[in-house]
Amino acid sequence: MKSLNRFAEPVYCIMRLLVGLMFACWGAKLILGLFGGTPAPPKPILILAGWIELVGGLLIAIGWLTRIAAFLCSGTMAVAYFLVHAPHGFFPIANQGELAVFYCFIFLFIFFYGPGRWSIDELIQGKTSSSP
């Protein structure tokens, strides 16, 4: 089974790309009004969250300043979960917070794992940012 690990890095890169882009979509919805937009003009805290989602999502997708972006995004999603979703019920599947939990933990993992071998960070820094 170990031969599968050879392909872990490319798959990690694709996963980072897709997760980052889907996350950026939420920012685009809040800030740029794409994908249906928001019904009411967002509150200041939502505008901040929107910019973190949009910029952070794109940075994670292309793997540039990955760890910083992932740390900020993970924190944003933790706040979103406890502020918005947690009051609605205990189970994430019932309180609509499933995606917030996902994003929070996947970005936490990305923060610790690093940008991986296939990323802008790796191109810029060469040796220092490569994951084991």
Partner: protein, 134 residues
Amino acid sequence: MNALNRYADLVFCITRLIVGLLYACHGGQKILNFPPGGHGIPPGAMGMIGAWVELAGGFMIAFGFLTRLGAFLAAGEMAVAYFMVHAKMGYFPIQNHGEPAVFYCWFFLFVFFHGAGRFSLDALIFRKTAATAV
């Protein structure tokens, strides 16, 4: 920043646990009616298979038992779910409600290739063969 990588395997274990349990919740809603709020098992053989893959696969991934097998089945099921159910409802995952499906699919595909990691039942049972190269 490389010092952070020391904890990557531990965080991977936590992420795998949380995502696996969230996934098992979908199967649990269908089969066991727990957590409450489900709609029962979808009609047809595919609905039944899907529900069991979600429940069993989710727990296998969560606890890291036969992780790669569970992750492969779960990723495949989510790909089918996305293209059969969600892709018809729109192009962007954010609009066709397929975002969790995409997310599960790619995360489990990564788990399939990356392996269970050091903190898993697989690593305990098959000490030498299943531990990932770190």
